[in-house]
């Protein structure tokens, strides 16, 4: 925590630096006819698609996105060009004077009815004959959940700083995927990758909003820097970032479930629609994850899950932490809770009866990996939260209640779910990960691992110090750019915990074996490559969560009385870091569930009511208790557990109070008011 140790791209200024501002489309869909700039003073330049020497696109995971729209415009705010010059205020003034001539076309809409040309991703999972089951069984339940787009809301707005030094193009940006930045710039400028050096800058909490978008900005700024032969900086303001950066892809999930007489799930039909926006490079992985997550950890006799990702004329969509898993878990758990409530069953007993166990196979649980200690997970939650007593008491009170002003409005929700770790392994673009460790003659250890996350470095330091039997102070991290760091894929989906940590252990074990028979220094390198396996992910972190809520009958504000979360995270290298990783995601999950809302009008993103995007601050984190099951199994990711599970448990608690299934995120006081008003009207 020494000031000056951490560098952000926004702190970098180069001598004689130019500032770049993007020229954007003012229509949602159509054709670009002409761009007419005002008379540009000396030193000011406008570059468009025609100036690109290489490919006018970046490609990520099989999806291409134009650097500048050449002709077809796909969304409001799409970059059409970049205007650069030495004075930012002058550049902004010139940008406002650029005339853009366009032809407007009717935009693609998102809904139940769509054209086949809109489908950019599709998965269908079928087991058994679910349609036949529906014909036989009388107990059929249906519900539809809708989750809107939300902002990733990271601390530092997006940006990039590019300079040319020593004959190489140097790119400074906060990115979760430095090697993708290099590949993208190389393709756009038709340069050899060895002529480009990417310096990943401090990133803070990226919330998965800086996976591929920095590559697009880097390509745009690099083009301008090469053409005008000056360092170029693009720095989004918070407003520009909010309006034009990627958002989490909205979804609509419909469940139809038949329940057998013994209470088990006989059949389930799930239809998922994802709004992929104009471009969504991560869509294949999102579709995979949301499809496999749709049946959760439950055993279902027959099912069909259909997922369609639809292209629309909204800004590019991305993946919030969890990559769609949270959407599926929210929709499934609230649907299941509604069934349990209608049938008058005990949520805990029902869940324990229907969890998939070792030997059973579901989309998410493979035959070999189903032993997930559900009893212990639920037991930890029930003990710490007093769930059973509270649930029974609140059921009684809420049924006995004469009106919403009668008595305390309390509820407790129980949800179970998981976090999938690492990519599904089906997308070659996700790349390899390597670690290189050198033990020097003086005993110092240098680690090159491509991670610039401080919490990950704490874990790595602890592993290396423990494995090699040395002081942590002897460990140094080296490799701060793409020339000196080993090749690595994106830093997301807990891939660093699930991939790098075991690689570090292997490297250290090899050094330990060699150090007493070979002279120092010793260097060991280990690499992980993605492989197509039976499992949906590299590993899965099962978890359970309870949320207790009291609703204020005057303001309809929900006050959280407690949050309890238990998980089987495997081996914990540093319990404090693990606890912090879970806890800091709790306010984020609550913010997504209760506050963050974006309205889209005519393809333009807008906050709900004002220019401010409403976000809960970490200080509003309620009391929470996290239990890690003791385990010696390989470390698993935990960073998305709160985001995946808490919204579901929160909605179930609200449902116990209101008697209605919560089917949307976010849920605010206005929604709850409408529930109670209709309850009053019905009575």
């Amino acid at each position: 925590m020494n000031e000056g140790d951490i560098r952000f791209f926004s702190d970098l200024e180069f001598p004689d630096q130019y500032h770049g501002v993007l020229i954007r489309s003012s229509i949602q869909r159509g054709h670009l006819v002409d761009i007419k700039p005002p008379k540009l003073p000396d030193g000011y330049h406008l570059y468009t698609a025609t100036d690109i020497p290489g490919e006018n696109r970046i490609t990520a995971m099989g999806t291409s996105i134009p650097i500048f729209a050449p002709y077809e415009i796909q969304y409001y705010g799409e970059p059409l060009g970049i205007l650069v010059g030495p004075d930012l205020d002058t550049v902004l003034e010139l940008v406002s004077e650029v005339l853009i001539e366009t032809e407007t076309l009717e935009p693609y809409e998102f809904g139940e009815i769509f054209a086949s040309s809109q489908v950019v991703g599709k998965r269908i999972l079928i087991s058994g004959d679910p349609d036949a089951s529906f014909a036989d069984v009388a107990s059929v339940y249906e519900s539809t959940s809708e989750i809107g787009p939300q902002d990733h809301y990271y601390a530092e707005p997006l940006g990039v700083n590019v300079s040319i030094a020593n004959g190489k193009l140097e790119v400074y940006t906060a990115t979760q995927w430095p090697f993708h930045v290099r590949t993208a710039v190389s393709a756009v400028l038709d340069l050899d990758p060895s002529d480009i050096v990417v310096f990943p800058m401090a990133i803070g909490e990226a919330m998965d909003g800086k996976i591929w978008f920095p590559s697009l900005l880097a390509a745009q700024a690099s083009l301008a820097a090469v053409l005008c032969k000056k360092p170029v900086k693009i720095a989004f303001s918070r407003q520009e970032d909010f309006l034009f950066s990627v958002k989490s892809a909205p979804s609509q999930i419909r469940y139809r479930t038949s329940i057998a007489s013994d209470g088990s799930i006989d059949a389930m039909i799930v239809r998922i629609l994802i709004n992929a926006g104009a471009y969504c490079p991560l869509i294949d992985e999102i579709v995979d994850r949301i499809t496999t997550a749709a049946t959760g950890l439950y055993m279902i006799r027959s099912y069909r899950v259909e997922t369609y990702a639809l292209r629309t004329n909204l800004p590019p969509m991305g993946a919030l932490s969890g990559w769609g898993e949270g959407h599926a878990i929210f929709a499934l758990e609230t649907h299941i809770a509604s069934i349990i409530s209608q049938r008058g069953l005990s949520p805990l007993e029902w869940k324990l009866m229907n969890m998939a166990v070792l030997g059973q196979k579901t989309p998410i649980v493979t035959a070999s990996s189903g032993n997930y200690r559900y009893d212990e997970l639920f037991s930890a939650i029930c003990t710490s939260s007093d769930y059973l007593r509270k649930y029974t008491a609140y059921e009684y009170l809420n049924h006995k209640r004469k009106g919403y002003r009668d008595g305390p409005l309390r509820g407790i929700g129980l949800a179970c779910g998981f976090q999938g770790n690492g990519f599904s392994g089906k997308h070659p673009g996700t790349s390899t990960y390597s670690v290189e460790i050198t033990m020097e003659t003086g005993g110092q250890v240098h680690i090159r691992c491509g991670s610039n996350s401080e919490s990950m470095r704490q874990i790595i330091r602890a592993i290396a110090a423990n494995s090699l039997g040395i002081e942590e102070s002897l460990i140094r991290f080296t490799g701060t750019d793409t020339e000196s760091m080993p090749q690595s894929g994106p830093d997301t989906l807990s891939s660093k915990t699930t991939i790098l940590a075991p690689l570090i252990e292997k490297c250290c074990a090899t050094i330990q074996r060699q150090r007493f028979r070979d002279p120092l220094p010793i260097t060991v390198k280990k690499t992980w490559k993605p492989s197509l396996k039976e499992a949906s992910f590299m590993s899965l972190t099962p978890a359970a969560c309870a949320v207790e809520i009291e609703l204020d009958p005057a303001t309809y504000e929900a006050c959280i009385r407690g949050i309890w979360l238990s998980c089987d995270a495997g081996l914990l290298y540093n319990k404090h870091v693990a606890l912090t990783a879970v806890k800091k995601a709790i306010p984020v999950a609550l913010s997504k569930m209760t506050a963050e809302q974006i309205t889209i009008r005519d393809g333009k993103i807008a906050p709900k009511q004002s220019v401010q995007y409403e976000v809960l601050t970490p200080s509003m984190q309620p009391e929470c208790e996290v239990t890690f099951l003791e385990s010696g199994e390989q470390a698993r990711g935990i960073g998305s557990l709160a985001i995946n599970l808490i919204p579901a448990a929160y909605a179930i608690a609200l449902a116990q109070i209101t008697g209605r299934q919560i089917t949307g995120i976010p849920v605010d006081a206005e929604t709850l008011y409408s529930f109670f008003e209709s309850e009053a009207t019905e009575k």
Binding site: E3, D5, I6, F8, S455, K584, A585
Partner: protein, 159 residues
């Protein structure tokens, strides 16, 4: 418009548009980069400075308001013994920050530690309501502040 003020212990004079944001003055004219440009609406706390001893987001301070005032940025504050208390308290509590929000969290923590009021956990949490950064658990921050209070008290008593 010429505006005189004390910056990190030195008297300075700037010729500026009176409505210009203080954070821009600090970053662009004085290269004091510990105050970050986050939201520019006073909500995120990344641009925090001490204005006459009080933590204030510098993005919502127009420079005409700082005439003859004392401004202390994190760069200067981090050379003080008071900073040492906060740093040690945070380290003992395992507080790990992303760097972007350091100014906000450290200067607010110092305000709490320096306060004569004995605050409850909830009150300490509320003091951080102007820090939007999602990099740290608030429980760690509260523990760090409590540590820092004890360290400060011990340091003052030792004197």
């Amino acid at each position: 418009m010429i505006i005189p003020f004390e910056l990190n212990g030195n008297m300075v004079y700037i010729d500026s548009n009176p409505g210009e944001r203080l954070v821009h003055i600090l970053r662009r004219r004085f290269n004091l980069l510990a105050s970050k440009e986050g939201c520019l609406s006073g909500r995120c706390g990344s641009c925090m400075i001490l204005l006459d001893g009080n933590p204030i987001p510098s993005c919502i301070v127009p420079v005409f308001q700082i005439r003859n005032a004392s401004i202390v940025t994190l760069e200067h504050f981090s050379k003080s013994d008071d900073y040492g208390d906060i740093k040690e308290g945070f380290e003992n509590a395992g507080v790990s920050m992303c760097g972007f929000c350091d100014a906000g969290k450290i200067l607010v923590a110092n305000a709490i530690v320096s306060s004569d009021v004995r605050m409850s956990k909830e009150e300490i949490k509320a003091m951080f309501s102007g820090n939007m950064c999602r990099c740290t658990s608030i429980d760690d921050l509260v523990a760090g502040v409590k540590n820092a209070i004890a360290i400060r008290r011990k340091r003052k008593n030792d004197k």
